[in-house]
Amino acid sequence: MTWTEAEIREGPKEGPAAGIGLSRWVDQHISWFFILPAVLFLTAVVAFPVVYTIGLSLFRWSGAATPPTWVGPGNYADIFAGDAGFQNALFVTAYFTGVSVLIEVTLGVGLAQLLNREFIGKGIARTLLILPVAGTPVALALVWRHMYNPSNGIFTWFAEILHLPPQRWLADATTVIPSLILFDVWQWTPLIMLITLAGLVSLPSDIYEAAQIDGASPWQAFWRITLPLVRPAIVAAAMLRFMDSVKTFDQIYVTTQGGPGIASQTLNLYVFDQAFQYLHFGYASALLIVLFFIILAGNVVLVSLRGGRA
């Protein structure tokens, strides 16, 4: 039992608030009552599945009436001993997540810089820009899927009028990831922009006036003042995007289902297939544990960036 600062400071309660017996005890330990429901929820709905997944990852089981077969670390051994599907998924995930988060952060910060001024229609512009974040991903993915159609999609037509070589977009193994990245960038850059903009607005304007008096160019002011000051917000936004980008499911499942072949099969989709297509529940569980550690590692790297160089 740990005491909160407030409880130590105030000591045992007197007066009407303290009440007697049970109600007094409740009031003194109230901080635990506040969090109890959420703790129970996290235990039942989150912690239990995690433990269950760890357990299941040591078995081979098709989910059918036959009981699971104990294989110990066998599933993990299979994953790391050259499961081509896993290696492909790992590469696809790193490619998709790495490039899209990088572009989204760069573009988002740039857009925030562009919008961080007074102009007519600022409110409307901001509202319109966030629509991709709110739109239903399945619906947007269906639209993008058809826009990418090699024979009658509008992107194919755009490419033609710009005299670009004909593209097969999602249908070609070499262009499917860049096409998905463009979709992701379209959908999530506004979020980074919004978060950066919130950081920019809170910056004091007198620093800029001082910098200007000292003869700093706008470019220098951006690199030397703005960027260091909003870096915590940018890193936070990048972390958020990284976590969600690794989790991307709807957009890829609806547009390509991981295809052509397995060219766009991220870890998330690979696990989904292993579990719900092939009913390899044990193997899928082992993959999930590996996936979790990958996400954790990615976040540790990003957090260390927040503190890092000045």
């Binding site: 703790v39 996290l42 947007l140």
Partner: protein, 279 residues
């Protein structure tokens, strides 16, 4: 522009023109897919297949008529609403006290647990849930779907509300306690009314993200409780035979979200940025 010297007038005008051109290009790029979705939903299937894409055509409502008559849209919409509000309500009951507990009593472990919950892909819960729900008979039930979607709403609500509760002045709460208010009373009668703006933001985000959710109902819902995103996706299994239907269904499921964002854009943006900066 932050009060800079703007140079001679022509240069200033040129810069301003350049800015508005850039802005309009950016807006078109981000809005176009929405426009295209709505635009194509009024074309016939044959018209959508035309290449180069048709910009002039006689609009038809037949796609919407087909979607409404071929599927029980009303029932699926009801399912979506039920699950969204169910997960919102239970999420508030669990998340609000938790956020207050974290803000006031510094329960760091819980904060960490909530963050990890945000980090883990939905699919990690899905495998065990699917197995457990199957044995408990919770597959294809509203209860099961609401429980599942709590994994979206509880972390979201908690994370947004921590910041709002931290801004409630402690002095106000202490004054209420001296006047004889219990801790629970302070939370319900002092803190909660003061964070009402935050509640609106959290509620809107929770509703939108539950409404948009696809993976969870794809596995856990069935014929009875299917929500709209799953229904919209099922249009594709007709192997693209009815593009009009796909566009119309996409428009129908997206429309409520767009309307909601346009109505309460300030709260929506605030929720997103708080969730973001804190995340």
């Amino acid at each position: 522009m932050i009060g800079k010297s703007l140079g001679p007038r022509p240069a200033r005008t040129a810069r301003r023109t350049l800015f508005y051109c850039a802005l309009i290009l950016v807006l078109i790029a981000f809005i176009f897919p929405f426009f295209w979705m709505a635009f194509n939903s009024f074309k016939t299937h044959e018209k959508i297949l035309e290449y180069p894409p048709a910009f002039a055509f006689s609009p038809t409502l037949s796609n919407f008529r087909n979607v409404v008559s071929q599927t029980s849209v009303v029932k699926y919409t009801w399912n979506s609403i039920l699950v969204a509000f169910g997960a919102l309500g239970v999420g508030m009951v669990l998340g609000l006290p938790a956020a207050y507990g974290i803000a006031r009593f510094r329960h760091r472990m819980l904060a960490l647990g909530i963050l990890v919950c945000r980090m883990i892909p939905g699919i990690s819960f899905l495998v065990p849930w699917f197995i457990v729900f199957r044995s408990l008979g919770l597959l294809d039930t509203y209860t099961g779907l609401v429980i599942a979607h709590l994994v979206i709403t509880v972390p979201l609500i908690t994370w947004i509300m921590i910041g709002f509760f931290e801004e409630v002045p402690v002095e106000l709460e202490e004054a209420a306690r001296i006047d004889g208010c219990s801790r629970a009373g302070v939370f319900l009668r002092i803190a909660l009314p003061l964070v009402r703006p935050g509640l609106v933001s959290a509620a809107i985000l929770a509703l939108i993200f539950t409404w948009n959710s696809f993976l969870l109902p794809l596995i856990l819902a069935g014929v009875k409780t299917k929500t709209l995103p799953v229904v919209v996706y099922s249009f594709i299994t007709f192997d693209y035979l009815d593009l009009g239907g796909i566009y119309a269904a996409s428009t129908l499921v997206t429309l409520p979200v767009i309307v909601m964002v346009l109505l309460v854009q300030r709260q929506f943006i605030r929720g997103l940025t708080i969730g973001g900066v804190k995340g």
